[in-house]
């Protein structure tokens, strides 16, 4: 197994080293806490939603490369999406993470996570910030992947 091809693709490592939107958002309308008690991944996700559209998204905290890169890319993807679109993307991304896709949908930069399903113990890492985002938009405030 070459783990650099299967899991740690170059893009993921770049986002881990220099995550985009990696800071708290002062005027956030939605904040959620994502915690993976198994490995200690711990992020806050911040969203500024106006007129039902995500205007800004960011995240802050600590965790592994997979969780950090996934969270960072999520914040880029969410900008400009309606709440329904954000939820729909969450579901598509979750599908990409959890099972082999026979006819994979093109999810753009998120495609780098298409090998994660082979590492079931890492699915929680890749989906942590997304669970937090989804619960933030549902108004729950705390997400756990356990």
């Amino acid at each position: 197994m070459n783990i650099s091809d299967e899991l740690y693709q170059a893009t993921i490592l770049e986002y881990n080293r220099e995550p985009r939107n990696f800071q708290p958002l002062e005027n956030a309308t939605h904040v959620a806490h994502g915690l993976n008690p198994l490995c200690g991944d711990d992020y806050h996700v911040y969203l500024r939603v106006e007129d039902g559209v995500v205007q800004e998204a960011s995240f802050y905290g600590h965790g592994c490369a997979i969780s950090k890169a996934s969270a960072s890319m999520m914040t880029l993807e969410l900008k400009g999406k309606t709440l329904d679109e954000a939820h729909e993307l969450f579901e598509k991304f979750h599908g990409l993470l959890t099972e082999k896709q026979d006819q994979p949908e093109d999810l753009g930069r998120l495609n780098v996570f298409s090998g994660v399903w082979k590492f079931p113990e890492r699915v929680k890492c890749a989906s942590l910030a997304w669970h937090a985002m989804d619960s933030a938009l549902q108004g729950d405030g705390v997400a756990s992947t356990e």
Binding site: N16, I66, R122
Partner: protein
């Protein structure tokens, strides 16, 4: 060299397994030990030859199963040098044993304001049952601090001990740091204050000789699966004077003498605490595991593991950007470390791709992780079947992690 003969590896069939294209290097013994063929065969023999319930039937199979199960109790007695076999209670594991003490002895003995002393390096299984008990009784937890090196602050311990201290419950060997704690000193000081002492021996039972009479501890708990035995079996040792006054905490068959709807007469220890059909095959497998360990001998085991610890410590210290967490003077062969700039979870995945099994996480010691300001560490734990080649593979895996991640 003090290393054990490599032929010992032939007893562990899984070591011939290939993992992700590499021969397996198993460095996760602190989570659970591999099982030697002798133990696997002993467990299989129970189901093949004496698959009957214990303490119940008048038929031959039941008699044989009972004899083997009670024989295992006697083996554990000898292993711990307990005075009597009926001081040995079979449980599901260390967690089950600690919960038994908390719910039986603790719930009946402790009152609001009583103090329970734990250390900052306890496993969650030696924190949560006591926290639950405090919520129920109004007792309070006091925590023995841990130094930067990973040693207990014994001066603070003596200061914390007081007339309200009812129990000191401490880990003998830290599963995260490898520290061997000075339990002799803890036990005698606690007894001077009239407090009872529980020793969590989950990590020490596989590598250090235990003598509960010499230690004079009141309770001691360990797990079979960390001692090369089956999962789902463990032991609570308790002094008979304590077991006799402890109420049952789980009701069912085998823990009673007579039952009517008006009145129940409970069985004597240890049966009072073994409700329901026990893990018969587990106890007999544990018996065989103890015999296996005793045949090798703790002196040889200790020498072997110290040799590997010394080599692995030196090797990791020589790598830039690697920091060992837990540098106590007295340690077993458990090596927690962090690689600067790399989350331990990523370290664990890359190790796995190299065929090297380690633990990455908080090791069920979140308060200790918080003490060191770490979310997690990677942990390599060495045992009787590990070799100096495994140390080389550990080092190579660290270089692979640095190459990919940094």
């Amino acid at each position: 060299m003090n290393l054990l003969n490599k032929e010992i590896r032939n007893d562990f069939p899984v070591l011939t397994r290939s993992v992700n294209g590499h021969s397996l290097v198993y460095l996760d013994t602190a989570a659970t030990a591999l099982k030697p063929r002798q133990v696997v065969e002993a467990v299989a023999a129970v189901y093949e030859k004496i698959p009957a319930n214990v303490h119940r039937g008048v038929h031959t199979l039941s008699r044989d199963a009972t004899a083997a199960y009670e024989g295992a109790r006697e083996t554990v007695r000898g292993f711990l040098n307990a005075a009597r076999a009926d001081e040995i209670v079979f449980t599901s594991g260390t967690t089950g044993a600690i919960n038994l003490v908390a719910r039986s002895w603790g719930a009946s003995e402790l009152q609001a304001g009583d103090e329970i002393l734990l250390s900052h390096m306890e496993h969650h299984s030696n924190i949560v049952p006591w926290k639950m008990l405090c919520e129920q009784t109004g007792a309070v937890l006091k925590i023995i601090p841990v130094s930067d090196d990973g040693e207990l602050d014994m001066a603070a311990f003596h200061d914390l001990l007081g007339p309200r201290t009812r129990l000191v419950s401490v880990v003998h060997v830290s599963n995260t740091l490898g520290t061997i704690n000075p339990i002799e000193e803890i036990i005698s000081a606690a007894h001077e204050q009239g407090a009872k002492v529980l020793i969590d021996a989950a990590q020490s039972a596989p590598c250090l000789p235990l003598d509960v009479q010499a230690l004079d501890c009141d309770f001691l708990a360990f797990s079979g699966h960390k001692l090369f035995g089956p999962t789902g079996i463990g032991v609570l040792y308790a002094k008979m004077e304590l077991l006799e006054m402890m109420p049952p905490f789980m009701g069912g068959g085998d823990m009673i003498l007579s039952v009517s709807f008006e009145e129940i007469c409970y069985n004597k220890p240890p049966y009072r605490f073994e409700a329901g059909t026990p893990n018969i095959a587990g106890a007999i497998g544990l018996d065989r595991a103890i015999e296996y360990v005793q045949q090798i001998g703790f002196e040889a085991i200790h020498a072997h593991e110290q040799e590997l610890l010394k080599a692995a410590t030196a090797a990791l210290e020589a790598i830039d950007g690697v920091r060992i967490v837990g540098t106590a003077k007295n340690k077993v062969a458990i090596l927690s470390f962090v690689i600067d700039g790399v989350h331990p979870h990523d370290t664990g995945s890359i190790f796995d791709s190299c065929g090297v099994a380690i633990r990455a996480g908080h090791h069920c010691t979140q308060p200790l992780m918080a003490r060191y300001g770490l979310p997690a560490t990677a942990r390599a734990a060495f045992s009787i079947y590990n070799t100096l080649d495994d140390v080389d593979r550990l080092v190579a895996a660290i270089h692979k992690v640095k190459e990919i991640m940094l």
